[in-house]
Symmetry: D2
Subunit: 383 residues, 4 copies
Amino acid sequence: MTDLRDKYRRVRTRSEEICATLKTEDYVVQPVADVSPPKWHLGHTTWFFETFVLKPVNGYKEFDPRYNYVFNSYYETVGVRVVRTNRGNLSRPSVADVYNYRRYIDAAMLSLLESTLSPEMTQLIILGLNHEQQHQELLAADIKYILGNNPLLPAFGEANITTPVVPDKNWIDMNCGLYEIGHQGYGFCFDNELGRHTVYLPAYRIATEPVTNREYVSFIQDGGYQKHQYWHAEGWDWVNNNKITAPMYWHAIDDEWWCYQSSGLQLLQPHDPVCHISFYEAAAYAAWKGMRLPTEFEWEAAASQFSWGQRWEWTNSAYLPYPGFKRAEGAVGEYNGKFMVNQMVLRGASEVTPQGHSRLTYRNFFHAPLRWQYTGIRLAEHI
Amino acid sequence: MTDLRDKYRRVRTRSEEICATLKTEDYVVQPVADVSPPKWHLGHTTWFFETFVLKPVNGYKEFDPRYNYVFNSYYETVGVRVVRTNRGNLSRPSVADVYNYRRYIDAAMLSLLESTLSPEMTQLIILGLNHEQQHQELLAADIKYILGNNPLLPAFGEANITTPVVPDKNWIDMNCGLYEIGHQGYGFCFDNELGRHTVYLPAYRIATEPVTNREYVSFIQDGGYQKHQYWHAEGWDWVNNNKITAPMYWHAIDDEWWCYQSSGLQLLQPHDPVCHISFYEAAAYAAWKGMRLPTEFEWEAAASQFSWGQRWEWTNSAYLPYPGFKRAEGAVGEYNGKFMVNQMVLRGASEVTPQGHSRLTYRNFFHAPLRWQYTGIRLAEHI
Amino acid sequence: MTDLRDKYRRVRTRSEEICATLKTEDYVVQPVADVSPPKWHLGHTTWFFETFVLKPVNGYKEFDPRYNYVFNSYYETVGVRVVRTNRGNLSRPSVADVYNYRRYIDAAMLSLLESTLSPEMTQLIILGLNHEQQHQELLAADIKYILGNNPLLPAFGEANITTPVVPDKNWIDMNCGLYEIGHQGYGFCFDNELGRHTVYLPAYRIATEPVTNREYVSFIQDGGYQKHQYWHAEGWDWVNNNKITAPMYWHAIDDEWWCYQSSGLQLLQPHDPVCHISFYEAAAYAAWKGMRLPTEFEWEAAASQFSWGQRWEWTNSAYLPYPGFKRAEGAVGEYNGKFMVNQMVLRGASEVTPQGHSRLTYRNFFHAPLRWQYTGIRLAEHI
Amino acid sequence: MTDLRDKYRRVRTRSEEICATLKTEDYVVQPVADVSPPKWHLGHTTWFFETFVLKPVNGYKEFDPRYNYVFNSYYETVGVRVVRTNRGNLSRPSVADVYNYRRYIDAAMLSLLESTLSPEMTQLIILGLNHEQQHQELLAADIKYILGNNPLLPAFGEANITTPVVPDKNWIDMNCGLYEIGHQGYGFCFDNELGRHTVYLPAYRIATEPVTNREYVSFIQDGGYQKHQYWHAEGWDWVNNNKITAPMYWHAIDDEWWCYQSSGLQLLQPHDPVCHISFYEAAAYAAWKGMRLPTEFEWEAAASQFSWGQRWEWTNSAYLPYPGFKRAEGAVGEYNGKFMVNQMVLRGASEVTPQGHSRLTYRNFFHAPLRWQYTGIRLAEHI
């Protein structure tokens, strides 16, 4: 399994690279419930391999049984756990303890990967690596949140990953008709992408490019955050209760918009795709333009004709099972199905999505008010 | 407009008939935010006619300008209003004041209905009557909640409306293919039903009958409320945080299930369709059976082949716009579109739905944890 | 026991007189947790006689055993009860039911009062009457809150009970020395007044008159609500979290202060003593004047030299037991002692205190932020 | 000012010694609002010297103006600040930054202390050192909380500071009469101890020793936590809402009581004085014994006749000003007065009180439910 060993090594190393510029203190805090401490991500992804891959292996000796309590995320099947909102209250295990834990598990995994593995175990390891890549994306967003909400606004990386300037927008007209949706082929995918199936789509138009900061500033200047008619009722409450007036990380300083980035506070780049917005904001922007967000099916049907991958794009589809979806048995079956209510689907990928982790059929999902991910907008309309 | 006058009279009278057995005190209270005081419903439906139909009429004299503040529900366009959770804190206007308000508006409306009306105004009045019928259904459910959560458990009506005993369940097999969804024809419908459109459905099977109390008791006896694997993650939290162990209004007394009804506390009828359950419970029950809830499209495509109307049936469809949906301009445009996020669609009708108000294409919607409506379950599966 | 029968009749009648102008709806609502529905007061005071006096009497037949659950206030010894915040959610027992309950208990009590009573039972009845008088004062304040927080601001009585205009303030100088504090003699008092004891007081000065509206307006105009230095830390948080800018029931309309009273909204009378303020406001006002509130001991030692009785006067004494205080056995022992933490003592009486219920040694007590009572300020200082 | 320089050095060093066994991560977290991160204490005590002593000095260059926002605790006069509950959300300034801040301020202070100082500045520095000693005590308690609420229950010090075994209890009878209360002499004290004044105390009896673990276990075994009659009403709610069944840090394991200490989990020592209890528990224990807590005046009047200093002892006195108390002008005046409502006084000192910081007249104060301090019980009664 040389390939898998290499991939294991690459993925595991990448998680630690993402944390390379952190101070020990940055690994510990949890400023809001949705943001986990980086050391928790490093421990949890490791716990996943230990629990689902290594523990069933004969002769494996558990690193520390108490870590099961500390690093379980939501697997009811596996037992009780630290409640999510308490993750930031734990100073121990220390960061060094967590890295030791990673070393210990990596050694056991790399040794296991030298043996011949059953197809089931191979699949579990591939799932574990994809799971870790999901957490890499969360890590990137959580680190930005932790430091971007610190009053000192420290930088945590090089000048921002350069995002290609968004070219002028064009429109793709899609015919009504039957389209095939969902994963096909032999590559890895999550269970929520399975069950490739036919959908009928009425004719629609979809943009070739995401909405830019410059375009979004027009919405703000036109009073978009003060006009209820563009908003869902609960979006309007969200705006008013939280006094929202701009995307997350935007700061108005002396009549100019600044934006917190990995390199610290920077002038807003007008041609970058708008980022860190909630579903409510995405939908309100589209309503202001007299348009709408695409459904996830419209997005997937057209995606081969536009470039994507800079922002996770909010769709107007709720996160629901595809026809014929069944939860797997056991703890791994808790992976996706139990979240299929009251969340919205995002399609695409973002500048912090790990390389090789994005797919045209990937279904990401978040609650409507969340903004700490690298989220953006693509417009569509009925024709 | 004799027909419309008659219909106006019938609908308006019906709202008051629903309240016929109430004591004055029952009109006032609001035990939870979702349940409004009956006098508020009687006032709000009246305010709807005054605000949208009468006020634009030349020479109309407003009943009391302060009622606009008291009886507006959620129309941002129309101005500020009593926040929803405060409705039960208002002893004034008194019940007699509200009936006087109804008398005043009814006189003005019936006089208006003797004149020749523009098509737009006719449509607005029809909308107002359908709006009042929606509130009649809420009234029925709210009255049950107000008295069913009173420690004295008073009766508020005749022996329960007899619901026909549910016959043995059969299954309808539906072929894959294209189906037309949404309202057609000239009759009234809400804006959320418009935009009749094609959907492609994979083959599926759907039950001819709703799930009965007897069947649901088996789920409880099998430990359904204690097994996380049947539940959505947020449903599982809901069960545990609220210590839910049975449908709303069920009481376990000396090893028997009793159920609060309009005639007071009664022994549970095993062959009645199960009632007053949340979306989470409906979905968990279906998962326990190894099946699922139908989508709203599957429901509509098959509905002409089964009997429905005893319970609002939870579907596994989120409440989202049909292709081409546009909000109307102005306050009436706030009717439906702004609620299209984080709610689930219910199809059918219930034993307290006003006669003539149900339709095969009707899209009702509630938040997943709500149970005070007459909600039930119809099973489906992929074939 | 003719005298006691007469007194029983007078006190019981008075409770109902206070409610004479209420509509049925006004008896039902509970706009905030601290304010109980008037029908609850009428039922609870009746329940007190039934539970502690009548039930122990041979042959007494309980009115309705479920009322014990509904009308118990806080007596743990007597069993479970409706939680306080739910009192306003109960439409039943109806107002007529409650009056029937009163009729039933009154008949039983008046018949009992024709027989020879043990001294213990006589004392219990006297306690029950004083308890009812306490609730009369709460009733008056609760009715004002219920209607004064209704957007229609209805009147509920005659032009306000005329309060004598406050004369110019003078100062009484009190010598340092020993003073006797607490109840003496054979008249009724609550257990918290017992244990007459000596205190040593340093010399102090105390005002002959309470602070007036005009004086309080100067505090507001001088920015008193915006200057943290006058406030306790938790008072400052209270001001800011609740956006407090004036006493309760004050409305600023077109640059004039209006004040809600039993006769509806009225121009603020500058020479009335300020009313409906919290302990925090009383203390901040005194700090702004460079003075302080008196302790309850200073108040009692000087009270025979000034007129009092228009306002409950906040003191700077916490509600704590007098030396040698012991709780009585049984439910009646829950009367006072268990509230002796985190409340402040008020001395005096107010314009809605029942006649004959006030005493120089009376110790009233409330939480520092509460304002719906008729509370005011008397200044003192160290000399 | 050699003496003051030495004292400055000793006190400042001691704060860092208390943290000697911490890992970097332990400095960062804030598991509940009342517990501040250790690095915040180290920074805040330093900020006190910078803000009140150094900034007014000509030529002093501020370390980092943003620290004012981060390390201000509650001084409204000095400007806005991180809200208390957010202290644990800040990973920066890092622990190393905070130690650098200390180095910088210490250098400036030690240089200043070589010059001739005005009496006012000397007093401010002495206040700053006493302030830091107060925070040393908080540091000790906060560290215990942070690690004692971590599921790994790590040790953070040597085997527990040995507390002398409590000898058998004796009783001191105190005569009624006049006693002098409050600070006298030239030594340092806080403003709340000033205004030495006379109080008259009735005769009372007070214990020579604090209540032991063994005695407190009897209270638990007798069902003390299940019997409402011993509790204040809000104490009873606190017990039930928080499911309290023993002092903080006690763990019942296999029918034995264990107790978390600096050396980790240890068997409960029966003869140690009971520790980490709330005011409610202290008062309930005393009520169960048929006794009561002493007032702070009774405590001070008798304290020369018993040994104290192992536990902060809850008194039955609310935290209120002594006669003639005046707040100082400016920010330093916020030190004590603004907290004088809704807190209870503790007298004595504890095993983690810094040497030389305790005084017979010292008035400590906390909210009634708090338990993370080293709090205990001394009994008293009326004779």
